[in-house]
Symmetry: C2
Subunit: 305 residues, 2 copies
């Protein structure tokens, strides 16, 4: 939760809202010039940067189009081609996201703070907010960009099962390379980013030939996705904890047992205690188990109709 609570909106939002209302009401019509940034700043008694932020908000919403040197006008209808500054921001984003991904890969997602990232890039922390609105958006875009490294072939192997396995394993491998990915994705709203959507689209394409109702197709695609993420986030939690405590899983378990004062050895949880040492260590094996069972079940569904 941000420092600004539920009710108190920051000034730049108030200003943007006022202008937006004037546009909506028809007082300002398409083509009209909206108050300049300095006019806004003076009118509201705020700094230029604040007025700039309000203007940027309106621009992002597609309500206005800035003409450098000639003021800002109310845009005609929808957004035209993204203006030059938009393209520039897009280019900057790439380097910012790459740096953020590098940090997350090396030291985990928690190490990616705005200050740290800015320092890495040699810029001020606040400069990042010209490229992303939020930290949340930063993380979401990181996840999407990482997903770009998970390309699926135009024509995969023959058979739907091999194709689905391919897609699931590709995503799994991606999560293995970027351990922060599952956390970043589960923070995002489901299927936000374009590359992630492309992945889902590919799977939907595989499912299209099977004669299932569209609702079922979507369920299957999302279920596969969840399957990968669940295993991957276990793996991430595991290696993360291992790094933090310095103990591998086995040793940690026994340490916890004695500390918690639990008599785990047979008396309370005999079956759990009987599990062979290190049976859960190989998360990849666990993932393959879950995938196999799920696809077996799905095959039964497909064959059944």
């Amino acid at each position: 939760m941000a420092s600004t609570g539920r009710g108190a909106r920051p000034p730049y939002r108030v200003i943007a809202g006022e202008v937006r209302a004037r546009i909506r009401s028809g007082e300002l019509r398409p083509g009209d010039r909206v108050p300049s940034i300095r006019q806004l700043a003076q009118r509201w008694g705020v700094a230029i940067a604040t007025a700039t932020r309000a203007a940027a908000l309106l621009r992002e919403e597609g309500l206005v189009e800035p003409k450098v040197g000639a003021g800002t006008v109310v845009s005609a209808r929808a957004v035209a081609a993204p203006a030059a500054p938009e393209r520039r921001a897009h280019a900057r984003r790439a380097t910012v996201l790459d740096a953020a991904i590098a940090i997350a890969d090396a030291e985990g997602l928690d190490a990616v703070s705005m200050r740290r990232l800015a320092a890495q890039l040699g810029i001020g922390p606040m400069s990042l907010y010209r490229v992303v609105a939020d930290k949340e958006e930063l993380v979401a875009r990181m996840a999407d960009r990482a997903f770009a490294g998970c390309p699926l072939p135009a024509t995969g192997p023959p058979g739907w099962r091999a194709k689905l396995e391919l897609a699931a394993r590709a995503e799994w491998e991606l999560c293995r390379a970027h351990l922060w990915l599952p956390r970043a994705i589960s923070l995002t709203r489901p299927s936000f980013a374009p590359h992630l959507m492309a992945h889902t689209e590919w799977i939907l394409g595989v499912l299209a030939e099977l004669g299932l109702p569209p609702r079922t197709r979507l369920h299957e695609a999302l279920a596969l996705h969840s399957l990968v993420l669940a295993s991957a986030s276990s793996m991430a939690a595991e290696t993360d904890a291992e790094q933090r405590t310095g103990l591998p899983l086995g040793r940690w378990r026994s340490a916890q047992r004695s500390r918690a004062g639990l008599a785990v050895d047979g008396t309370r949880f005999p079956l759990l205690a009987a599990v062979p040492e290190g049976a859960a260590d190989d998360l990849a094996e666990l993932f393959e188990y879950g995938l196999a069972r799920h696809l077996d079940g799905f095959a039964a569904l497909v064959a059944g109709r």
Copy 2:
């Protein structure tokens, strides 16, 4: 990551380490008195509380045994039974955890900060650290306590499938009641807390009759667990985002589409666009779909041997 980085250990750990070294080296032998708390405090130039903390650490490790009124001596071998103060801490923990759970239920896991929780209880923030060592431990214990509200019958319905469905749905319902649970659990090391272990134990009990190798049994139990958590964490992310942005999923999607400048409507992702509106909204249905497919697949595995 805590403020104390990798290298700089807090003083109380340094003190404890020093004493520990003297015990390990044989300079202090079992039965010998270790320096009193006040002696330690004076010797290191720290407050009594810090020396107490160091002594508490050694006590927890079972290296020393305090004799009230007669100093602290190096313990003979292992730890004796947990003393009365341990019980008192246990009782206090319950009220602390209940308060924390209440906050998390009402306002989400992020609203549970040490300060906030302490304020709720009318105590100082630091008093919490007498009951839990960490925020991490707090969250883990919260999850475990919540899991206590997920009791499974001694003798469930007939048939392994009905029993597994019962267990999975019980966990699902629990996550539905406590939306923060999936996040809290995935932060914890897998199967840490006793109640969670009891759940796993119950499932292992169901699987015991099927004649599968132990490794497979564990895989199945963990797979079921993951299945529930994956769906539940999607649900949590969804309702959380809905609260924050105030938009339900459908509206948010269209807003994002226009903002991101994506032409989603058919040109780039035709299959995704063709999915009926609101098909992914019912997470419960998605969960049931995943559960059914998985159990079908597992049934095939059971029948196959």
